[in-house]
Amino acid sequence: MNYLIIIIGAILVNNIVLMQFLGICPFLGVSKKISTAIGMGGAVAFVLVLATIVTYLIQNYILNTLGLAYLQTIVFILIIAALVQMVEIILKKVSPPMYQALGIFLPLITTNCAILGVALLTIQKEFNLVEGVVFAISNAIGFALALVIFAGIREHLETQNVPKGLQGTPIALIAAGILAMAFMGFSGLV
C-alpha cells in the first residue's frame, strides 16, 4: 500500500515536471518530436534510477557516518557527472544501437535538475533503499509521461495557426500550463 502511494504520488499527483518544476529545460528543449521525447525520457530514466541508488548509498554509508553531510551538494553533483560519463562509455561499448539512440541526450543530463532533485528528495523524505528506488522509477515514468504527452501537443501546435506574438516559447509555456491544469485533477488521489 505504501509503495502504491509513492508510485501514484510521484507519477500523477506531484508530477516532477508539471507540479514540481524539475527538469523544465529538457521538457521545453527536446519536446518538438515524439521520437526524441521518448529517447530523452529513456536516457533520463536510466541515469535517474542509477544516480538515486548511488547517492543514497554514499549519503548513508559515507557522508553521514563521517559527519560530512554539508558536502552533500558538491558530492552529489560530482557523482552524477561521473555517472553520466560512465554510462556513456559503457553504452558505447556494450550496446551501440542504444548508444546511437540515447547518445546525444546523455551530456545534457548532468545539468538536468530532475536527477539532482530526485536524489536530494529521496534523502529529504528519509526513504529506505527500496522505497527510494520505487520513488526514482516512478519519477522517471512521470518525467517520460509528461515529456511524451507534451511532445504530442507540440506536434499538433506546429500545424495550427498561432497568433504571431505567441509563436515559439510563449505558446509552448501556455500549453504546458494547460497540461499542468489537467494534472491538477489528480490532486485528490493520494
Binding site: 514540481q20 518544476f21 521545453l28 536530494l120 510563449p170 509555456l173 501556455i174 491538477m184
Partner: protein
C-alpha cells in the same frame, strides 16, 4: 562606457529568462510570491558573481579537458556557502525556497556564464557580467512573482491590495506559473521588436 554596457545588458537585451530562456526550473518553481523571487534571485546573483570571479582567476591553470567538471565544483562550493548562510540567517526564506537552493548548481545560467564569459575574460569584466546577469535574473523573478502574487493572493510583498474574495488561486499554483511566464515572454518579445 564599455563596462556600463556590460552591466546593463542583463536586464533586457540578454535577459537570461525572457530572451535566452535559461534556468526555467527555479523561475517557475519559486515565484509564487515576489519575496521568494527576490530571495532566489539574490542567492543566484551571489553564486554567479563569485563563481565568475574565481573561474576567471584560475582559468589559465585548468586543463581544457576537465574544464566543465572543474567549473561545476567551483559553483557547487559557492552554492554550499549560500545554503549554509541562508539556513543560519533567513531560515523562513530558506524553508520556502526548499530544494531550489541546492539546485542552483544545475542552473544552466551559472554554468553558461562561466563557459561563455568568465573563461575568456578578465576578473573585473567577469564580476560585472555576473552581477548584470544575476540582477537581470532577479528582476525577471520579482516581476513574475509579483504578477502571480497580485493575481493569485491579492498581495504584493505581503501587503494586501484587495479582498481575498476576488483572487484566482490558479495563479499561485503550478499552471499559473507556466501561463504567466508565457504571456510575459510574448510581451517582452513585442517590446524588443518595436
Amino acid at each position: 562606457m564599455n563596462q556600463w554596457k556590460n552591466f546593463t545588458k542583463g536586464f533586457i537585451k540578454e535577459n537570461p529568462i525572457f530572451v535566452l530562456v535559461l534556468g526555467m526550473c527555479p523561475t517557475l518553481g519559486v515565484t509564487s510570491s515576489a519575496m521568494n523571487g527576490l530571495g532566489m534571485g539574490l542567492a543566484t546573483t551571489f553564486v554567479l558573481v563569485m563563481a565568475n570571479i574565481v573561474i576567471s582567476m584560475v582559468k589559465s591553470f585548468i586543463p581544457e579537458k576537465v574544464r566543465i567538471p572543474s567549473f561545476i565544483v567551483i559553483i557547487a562550493a559557492f552554492v554550499t556557502v549560500v545554503q549554509l548562510m541562508m539556513q543560519a540567517y533567513v531560515p523562513a526564506l530558506y524553508k520556502s525556497l526548499g530544494l531550489f537552493i541546492p539546485l542552483i548548481v544545475v542552473n544552466c545560467i551559472v554554468l553558461g556564464r562561466a563557459e561563455a564569459f568568465a573563461s575568456k575574460n578578465r576578473v573585473l569584466s567577469s564580476a560585472i557580467d555576473g552581477l548584470s546577469i544575476g540582477l537581470g535574473f532577479s528582476f525577471a523573478l520579482v516581476l513574475l512573482g509579483g504578477i502571480r502574487e497580485i493575481l493569485g493572493s491579492g498581495k504584493i510583498f505581503d501587503i494586501a491590495l484587495y479582498s481575498e474574495n476576488y483572487v484566482s488561486l490558479i495563479f499561485v499554483l503550478a499552471p499559473g506559473a507556466f501561463i504567466v511566464l508565457g504571456y510575459l515572454i510574448a510581451f517582452i518579445n513585442q517590446i524588443r521588436k518595436s
